[in-house]
Symmetry: C2
């Protein structure tokens, strides 16, 4: 499975007119002299509330019509589920989403609201992969994986193409890393279009699987991380994404849970956006990089904004995490 910039260009033409071209924002407040300048690519404003729609839509749109007609399957309780359900609906097909029985009711509802069927499983006794596989075989459906797939990576990479078109000049890019689909797509796009830009990844300290894997030079498996950044509950970088990260990402910056919360508040104050904790991981990392590289222009990808209202209020208040 080769993957390259050409795949991203193809994705760009597939998603055009359906997936939103999200804005790039700057702070409403005046900058202190010499400080780094931040630019925010707002995927929290993407249709379905997260960048995940890009990859999901690209994957499903690339299926041949007879294959697509049978529908798709995904296992996820978060942004990927909602993105697959939304993309399926937009493309006139149907999604089944495998979700744990104890997933928050609000997430089940959000996924059902876009017309998907939910298949519940017991996460202590059953394997979601096996369930999804069985559905695919019985119903001739296609699995839409969360990150380790060339079409998914290419879809996320379209953010890099848009950044290139939207921003005159920038020096650094910071993106959060879960499975690595987002950063490997964007890094591939920028390696072609803006080879001078330095790419940095961001992980929560507790979800440092990519950080450790880069240190060791091979994919490391960690226990399911305990972090408020729920988009980072991944235990290992992908088979496809990891080599791209090794080649193109300069460094992974780790941030604490407290820094994530402060990042959410910083964003409320400076760009008036509601973001989810995973996005704030990139913000927190960028703030650290800003002190190391004053005067630079830093592009930050805000990956999503799907945060529970009650949770968001608590985080804004600074309750202990």
């Amino acid at each position: 499975m080769s993957f390259g910039f050409r795949d991203i260009e193809e994705a760009q033409s597939r998603i055009a007119g359906v997936v939103y071209r999200t804005p790039v924002l700057r702070s409403i407040n005046e900058r202190t002299d010499g400080a780094a300048e931040f630019f925010f690519k707002c995927e929290n404003l993407q249709r379905s509330g997260a960048f995940k729609l890009r990859g999901a839509y690209n994957k499903i749109a690339a299926l041949s019509e007879p294959v697509r007609r049978h529908g798709v399957v995904a296992f996820s309780s978060g942004n990927h589920a909602r993105a697959v359900a939304t993309a399926a609906r937009l493309l006139g097909t149907h999604a089944k989403i495998v979700m744990p029985k104890d997933a928050p009711a609000v997430k089940l509802q959000a996924t059902r609201a876009v017309g998907a069927d939910i298949v519940l499983y017991d996460r202590y006794r059953e394997s979601r992969e096996a369930i999804a596989q069985a559905i695919c075989e019985n119903e001739h459906r296609t699995l839409v994986p969360p990150f380790d797939d060339p079409l998914i990576i290419a879809g996320q990479g379209t953010i890099g193409v848009e950044l290139h078109e939207q921003m005159p000049e920038f020096d650094l890019l910071v993106a959060p890393i879960g499975g690595g689909g987002l950063i490997s797509g964007v890094a591939t796009a920028l390696a072609e279009l803006r080879p001078e830009v330095q790419i940095y990844g961001a992980e929560a300290e507790a979800a440092n699987d990519t950080f450790l894997s880069l240190q060791k030079g091979e994919r490391v498996q960690i226990p399911v991380p305990k972090t408020i950044a729920d988009g980072m509950q991944v235990t290992s970088p992908g088979k496809l994404t990891f080599p791209i990260i090794q080649r193109l990402v300069r460094e992974v910056v780790l941030v604490s849970e407290q820094e994530i919360v402060e990042g959410m508040r910083w964003v409320a104050e400076h760009i008036r956006q509601i973001i989810e904790p995973t996005s704030a991981v990139a913000v927190a990392a960028a703030r650290k990089l800003a002190t190391r590289f004053p005067g630079t222009r830093i592009a930050i990808i805000l990956s999503g904004g799907n945060v529970d209202k009650q949770r968001y209020r608590e985080l804004l208040a600074g309750k202990e995490v």
Copy 2:
């Protein structure tokens, strides 16, 4: 003092490259069939946090250099103060802002942070107009009025030009009305560029001075309104703005305090923006218009996002207002 579209075009060239071209957002959630479609012009993302920078910058930039050098004066404790202070700084001059002694510390601080001097007064014993006038005379400064000035109205009108460029088609426009500078500028721009668009104003029930004035056919004075929409604490429409509103605004929609709070929550859920209550007045009015005119495309101006963090949390929680 004549005022027309030409003034807005001149304002557009004065503010270009300094005042942000704010994005137009759509909901991240899929729309129900037949429902009206909302588009949000996000002045909460404007430099200084509100549309007010457009008018203030246009006014100060239009002063001749020898006049501008002596500095400017404004009386306001809200977005206008911050906008005048920011514009003065950006144009290399200096602002003095007349503010009540009992203004919230956070607002004094925000205005000082952009380099303005604050002149405190006792609002029960002193007249802020008289104080501002005295400063102007003694220091040869120029007064920057909050709305009733052709250069201010022209600056706010640039939002209409941007909407015309950013939006393919829309049927209705909804803007909040304080003193009327925003809506009269935008309505003048759209009367020229999109004469088919119907313009609606939005006021809080308690701040219905323009609603009443339109009914009576002349400017009506009301007591200082008690509403969470602090940008609407104006007791009468302007001498210049009112005739424009009479000519170009189809109707003023009134909304309750509860509807304003629900508007803020709707915006958090659908477009992930933090807005101030005055912006939510327009959102609440648009939601009412949507039930009257299903299937239409409604552009809504979110006027600003400068809301106290604690206050915002309470509103999000649905505490009684």
